[in-house]
Symmetry: C2
Subunit: 262 residues, 2 copies
Amino acid sequence: MGTLQIVKIGGKVVDEPSALKEVLYRFSRLSGKKILVHGGGKGASALAERLGIPTQMVEGRRITDAETLQVVQMVYAGLLNTNIVAGLQALKVNAMGMTGADGNVILSRKRPVGAIDFGFVGDVQRVNVPFVKMLLEQQVVPVFCALTHDGQGQILNTNADTIATELAVALSPYFSTELIFTFEKDGVLRDVNDAHSVINRLSHSEFLRLKKEGVIQEGMIPKLENAFRSLQKGVKKVRILNALNLSPPDSGKPIGTTITPE
Amino acid sequence: MGTLQIVKIGGKVVDEPSALKEVLYRFSRLSGKKILVHGGGKGASALAERLGIPTQMVEGRRITDAETLQVVQMVYAGLLNTNIVAGLQALKVNAMGMTGADGNVILSRKRPVGAIDFGFVGDVQRVNVPFVKMLLEQQVVPVFCALTHDGQGQILNTNADTIATELAVALSPYFSTELIFTFEKDGVLRDVNDAHSVINRLSHSEFLRLKKEGVIQEGMIPKLENAFRSLQKGVKKVRILNALNLSPPDSGKPIGTTITPE
């Protein structure tokens, strides 16, 4: 069983060209089969502001009305995805930019309206595993932005962490799959005020304890819940690390936080 | 040798959702291997205006400065390409949206600055034929927007007619290739004021005569020059027709203008 690394990047590294260049270089050096998933950074909010479209966030998620969907399509698929693919091609990585509509790879369902109407947001229903396997077998490196489709012609906005997790879970029967979430800090911190307090290994029971104590909070909670869920569903390894520390796994240095089932 | 149809759409049909839906339905009914190439319609100029970026056109070509390049990326790859792919998936066509950077499929070179500086405009250098063949053999239907890359990380703006022509020429050794340019009229007209004066067959000598007489003019001239060039370089058949008349070739009705070498 071959290995597969699925790397999610987001936040500042997609906003800053020099940081992005460094991360793409490091990604290009990873050996074996790999997939890149990228978030949108602040570009969508910036464009929405230029166009006079109000940005509404609830629980860290963007409310995606029809105009906002156009904005995220323009930024995620139009600017970021094409530039990342061109950047990887310059590094001799045979990248292929994708939304979930391409090759019908990620089918989602518009989130039902509950207490909140998230608008054109999609919850993943199904990953077209044979198609992704085919691309990987052709030495293609898929690069996903945070868009899916409903199979009836509608593009939907889907969180990039979720896309990375769903891909990792769906592909884990066929590859020894490692999921790598990157962000701006060096890993999960024991003390948010101490950038050096990285937890090297985090088990589920430890996570529950630190969550209860309020040490782990906000955006890190859904990220870690995604991580533990993916380990239960066959993903071999999950790491959380600084995008600028992304490096080949054989470099020996312990980097970031490794999530372990127990 | 299998058949391949390469269809270029542009103009009003990409701007009007109901017209686009009709054209995608007709495209979905074409049998055999196929590729769709789409232009940008008026969306890029409209977005540029909203963002206060001046649009400069010279000889029907857009001057693409850095800000304008962002606009065309957002509209061509972000909005149009993703929506067209999602629309085709709803019709059970396994579409895959592409710029020339995806799979390193269309490598171009930034046009040298002469009397006019076109900015980030790319002239096609090379088509990655094995990669496109691989996609077609996997029953994928590539959908190209009018963007290429220079292999060094830079996306470039490239005319959609040119992309369709270059793909057709490059693939013609492997497929019996038909190139179909669609636009808003029913074909090449003998009298621009008479929509019914469609020329059914147009040879090169006839073209030269009609050009000299001023019957064929403006935007139709480069389109026809592309057509004749592609026939010289191995493309089997070129047709120019109304996108709303796109239909299976076995329907019997003569549609549009067929370009013939002699």
